[in-house]
């Protein structure tokens, strides 16, 4: 299960090549099970492999944001490609997510 890793206080989530509704349920559920651990505060989404994302990806990010934000946690996005960047921009996600 190297798609999920806890480093310091961050949950690192390595997202798949195609992030659609079909993939979304799995990543949301798994991420949430890691967020139950008391040491995990922030979530880092790694888009390195991701060539495609639709609104289902926004759902994953928003859902995790609602969970960590009340506890002062932050959401980060790394290795964001062009297509993903447009989706984040258009959906207003770039206000909730720190793109590194």
């Amino acid at each position: 299960m190297d798609q999920f890793q806890v480093i310091d206080h961050c949950l690192m989530v390595k997202l798949p090549q195609e992030l659609d509704h079909y993939q979304a349920g799995y990543f949301s559920r798994e991420a949430d099970s890691f967020l139950l651990r008391p040491e995990v505060c922030h979530v880092v989404f790694d888009f390195e492999d991701t060539e495609f994302m639709d609104s289902s990806g926004i759902g994953i990010i928003m859902g995790r944001y609602k969970k960590v934000a009340p506890l002062g946690g932050k959401i980060y996005a790394i290795n964001v490609g062009k297509q993903v960047a447009r989706i984040l921009e258009l959906s207003g996600m770039s206000r909730l997510v720190e793109v590194l």
């Binding site: 659609d20 798994e30 639709d54 062009k82 959906s91």
Partner: protein
Amino acid sequence: MDRELRDEMKNEMELTFDAISSNEGLARVAVAAFVSRVNPTMEELSDVKTAVSEAVTNAIIHGYGNLEGYERRGRGVSAAGGVQAMEQGRGLPAAGEIRATEPGRHGKVRMQCRLEHGVLKVLIEDRGKGMEDVGKAMEPLYTTRPDLERSGMGFSFMEAFMDDLQVESAPGVGTIVRMQKKMTSGPWIPREE
């Protein structure tokens, strides 16, 4: 390929598939392959794929209420819906036939693509439950399924990424989404003077 020749090319495609989540990828790949002959830019290609993905996902999860692939994936059960369908002995329907969900049977999504004068037209149809209020459904951030973490951005993305979007729907009958987008040739295609 010169621009005139490209503009003259007309092509049509139709694809009917089971309303299961794993077919979202199939629909994206099919439309991308179909439109690639007019050499769209990378951006146009991903715009079209995103819009199709949204429309097909809507048909599957809202139209037919089919959450099978979404719920099963990652739970140690084979996610290959098609294989499951075969194992359960479901036959293939007649070509072009789409029908509403019956117990033990998936509904069908029909995707029709047409390319003419460098314009891509896509129609995506389901015979699912339809919508009472299309205008409301199209509002940004409006979703009937917050439980599935649907962001309510589907129609907004279709509108943003395509040039034109029209939605017809009736409760109990189904939904038809029509989209179109003008393709400009990719910059790597030399244009003859």
